[in-house]
Amino acid sequence: MKKKRIKSPYASSLYWPAGILYMVLFFIPTVLSLFFSLTRWTLQEWEFIGIENFTLYFSEENLRIGFRNTIIYAVLTSGLKVIFALYLATFLSSKLRATGFIRSVLFFPTLVSTIGVGITFSVLMNPYEGIINAVIKSVAGFFGKTTDGPGWLIDPNLLPIVSIALVDVWKGVGIATLIYIAGMAAIPRDYYEASSIDGASTRQQFYKVTIPLVRPAMFSVIILSFVGGLRSFDLIWAMTGGGPGFISDVLASINYKQYTSGYYGLATAGNVILFVVVSILVFPLSRYLNKKEVVM
């Protein structure tokens, strides 16, 4: 046809505002980070020092902890959200009366300030004055036992990062549930009717109909929460600041500490490492999940 001679009615210039912003504030800094991670940098001048930043970064002991915590945090938050949200969504998709109320309440923490949630929970989790341990103590006392309760955020081992991850799940499970509910709403009712005529129980319907057909939503939840978990900073910063010591540091908080100490080259190297870690884990994961989806 004559299509080639007619000027397209869709203007490519619609790309420009987004394209310029993306280029200047996202793409160019990302490319620059590859270079500046190899320098000693004061933001005014730089000196090329090769891979020294990376060797320095990897030689620090707290980095090992940071790596471990980043992975634990991401796996724990996304895993718990995927499972809890699936059951919550199933519960809330049923014809119960309380669903409207529960749905709203569940969703509210997503809108609330992460810093506010972090501060509130760090007070609640205070091992000496906090309410959570007060409840644990009185329950234990009821059964005739005495306990001090866990140290939550001041424990010298893994507990601080796990506690923060639990608060993250508390705050983020609502949005994961909504994604599931949307996925479940898209499942045609016929499948449930057909399977119940064939004598399937509610449990069988859940495992044989709901779970396979809600898979695209499940994958969105996995990817979104896993990426969020790997990059998360603000909740951890508000609750422990990476402490006690470096026990609950993650890659993002280590980078921030180096930035505030003025080690801009080192902080940029940390940024590149985070970038590589996220890419190595997430892109294969999303390809794997997409492949499974096609097979289904």
Binding site: P9, Y15, T30, L124, I179, V278
Partner: protein
């Protein structure tokens, strides 16, 4: 439909559903409402009373006095931060909706090399973390570092990928015949988008608007890096700073949290139905 409804009338199912209702409500109240209750009662107490950090209601409700104290403290610092946060949120969300909608439109309708590249860039931007210090360096070069305008540009740039994705998917549900009818009448280019298509995107624009408002208003990390300085402080930043200032005045610390939460809470009360239905409409699709 008829089948399921008949089933629901069976007494056994009905009996079980009442228990499920009650358990659901109790668990929700304990897990989700009690922390907010704790926040409210302690924000309303006097200093000595709040120091005990318990759930009992205050002897005397001092909620508004405490909030007024927080807002006026340190030469009305929180009030200034409120102004900054509101300006930042309103402008970021406005530009984000305008810019990402037009991008999503041309990406969906004009399939060429540019749209393939744009698709790839959107997906990568969703995943990879932004390079922070080099971004500060770029902002310094163009004179936008430590300015609200620069912060708005950053929020829009970082929000683009998600918003473009949702707009593009939603635009896929708008029949191409609508464009064609407009094109026949001579409406093309930017006019085609802003006069014909954009008004049809209202539901998804509202969804994006709500998500982005919560994200920008509650953003702590990006202003921490790109908008330092006392006069530039946003509400999240003041809240963080006040943890140490109010370390012995829990009532004021909680009043500050409550004051900041009041903005999303009001939005939540007014738009509750919209938020939940909008979120489900926009959050998933292809």
């Amino acid at each position: 439909m008829i089948l399921t409804r008949n089933k629901g009338l069976k007494s056994k199912t009905k009996y079980r559903s009442i228990w499920a209702d009650i358990t659901g409500i109790i668990v929700t109240v304990i897990v989700f409402i009690l922390p907010f209750y704790f926040l409210v009662v302690n924000a309303a107490k006097s200093q000595e009373e709040s120091f005990r950090l318990n759930m009992s209601p205050p002897e005397k409700w001092l909620l508004f006095q405490n909030i007024a104290k927080v807002v006026s403290d340190y030469d009305w610092h929180v009030l200034n931060a409120t102004k900054n946060s509101l300006i930042l949120t309103i402008f970021s969300v406005f530009f984000l909706i305008i810019i990402s909608g037009m991008t999503g439109f041309v990406m969906h309708r004009k399939r060429d090399n540019t749209s393939a590249v744009a698709n790839f860039l959107v997906l990568t931007a969703l995943v990879i973390p932004p390079a922070i210090v080099p971004t500060i360096w770029v902002l310094q070069r163009i004179g936008l570092y430590k300015t609200l305008a620069g912060m708005i540009a950053i929020e829009v740039a970082y929000g683009l990928a998600f918003a473009v994705l949702i707009f593009r998917n939603f635009i896929g549900t708008i029949p191409k015949e609508i464009d064609e009818a407009a094109i026949v009448d001579g409406c093309t280019g930017w006019n085609l988008y802003f006069r014909i298509i954009f008004p049809l995107l209202k539901p998804v624009s509202i969804t994006i608007g709500i998500i982005a408002t919560a994200a920008v208003f509650n953003d702590f990390t990006n202003p921490l890096y790109f908008l330092p300085g006392d006069e530039n402080a946003t509400l999240q930043g003041t809240l963080f700073a006040y943890v140490s200032r109010y370390s012995t005045q829990y009532n004021l610390l909680f009043a500050d949290i409550l004051y900041i939460t009041a903005f999303p809470l009001l939005a939540f009360i007014f738009f509750n139905k919209r938020i939940v239905s909008g979120m489900t409409a926009g959050s998933i699709k292809g």
